[in-house]
């Protein structure tokens, strides 16, 4: 039972509850009840509910954006890079299906949280945006791609990929299929989203 430290157990339980119900609907009492410990133990280890949450939020924001951090093979065409990015993006989301809503929700209820996300995104952009922008400019100039911006490409990708997971609770109710078929449908949607994204870039 205590092969995992209490601190770790609290952290993991808090993670689960925060992601499921959000910051404001998760009380430290709930977490303690779930862990099976005294409520004050949470303050003992993490000082405050807010601090505990911040730890988790940062971590999850990183996971949420992880797919965009992974380096891309340098010598493949831009189109291929975008395909890889979109597929990776969708993959990370399938493995963390609850994150899109969680992140969006917490930013919405407390705009301060945006700073964490902003830092991560800015960081990523500094890494990849210069070279991608250059490649994009070339593709456009050579007439191999539509005149567009990295911003638009990311927005399309994010909208298509995140959409599936945000609407999941609603969609589930309109697709009366067993869970494993739903997973197949999900993978198909990754393909379809990538297809649409690339299509949108054609000149």
């Amino acid at each position: 039972m205590s092969d995992k430290s209490m601190e770790q157990t609290i952290l993991e339980t808090a993670e689960r509850l925060f992601i499921d119900r959000g910051f404001s609907l998760t009380s430290t009492t709930d977490i303690a009840k779930e862990v099976g410990c005294n409520q004050s133990l949470i303050n003992y280890y993490f000082r405050s509910k807010e601090k505990l949450f911040q730890t988790i939020f940062k971590k999850k924001a990183l996971v949420f954006l992880a797919s965009l951090r992974e380096p891309l093979e340098a010598h493949i065409p831009l189109q291929e890079k975008i395909r890889v990015m979109s597929e990776r993006h969708f993959m990370t989301l399938s493995e963390n299906a609850k994150l899109p809503f969680f992140i969006l929700n917490e930013i919405h209820t407390n705009p301060e949280r945006l700073n964490v996300v902003k830092t991560i995104i800015t960081d990523i952009l500094q890494q990849i945006s210069p070279s991608l922008n250059e490649e994009l400019a070339l593709e456009i100039q050579e007439g191999r791609m539509r005149n567009t911006t990295l911003f638009e490409i990311f927005l399309t990708m994010a909208s298509l990929n995140i959409g599936v997971f945000l609407f999941h609770p609603v969609l589930k109710n309109f697709i009366n299929k067993p869970n494993d078929e739903l997973r197949t449908l999900l993978l198909q949607r990754s393909q379809e989203n990538t297809r649409i994204l690339l299509l949108s870039l054609e000149p």
Copy 2:
């Protein structure tokens, strides 16, 4: 001051606060404070916070899906119908930019709320789905459209259009432009989304 009835004032204030902060982060005390009346007046008129909320939620769910209820000209090609739907959809969203998150959030925190939305969607589908499905089948058969489903078309449309508004708080931070330029960008995005949607249907 009391040219509007107290009941109406409470309703409108509750509407605003609920949409901004959600059900759980809006207390009846907050509403009363904002209205400038006693907290128990809210229960006097609406019996409970829950009932007050339900009234508002139903109304807003209808608005949220209103664009899909508007009838389509019967004799235009399916492609044109889809274009009109997408543009209308985006338009309703721009006029109710906070609704996508509001609806999604409330469904998430209380899945019971899904029933309201489900009823409305089922209703809409019964109205439009048979004829659209027939037209779609024909277009596919004649090789004028890719083999797809109404479900996928709606999912793509919703993802692209709703995405813009869900990410708005984040996007605003990365576009350092004045608000009126932002509005222009928004309209452009409607065009772009429609373009992508129709592109995705080409054979």
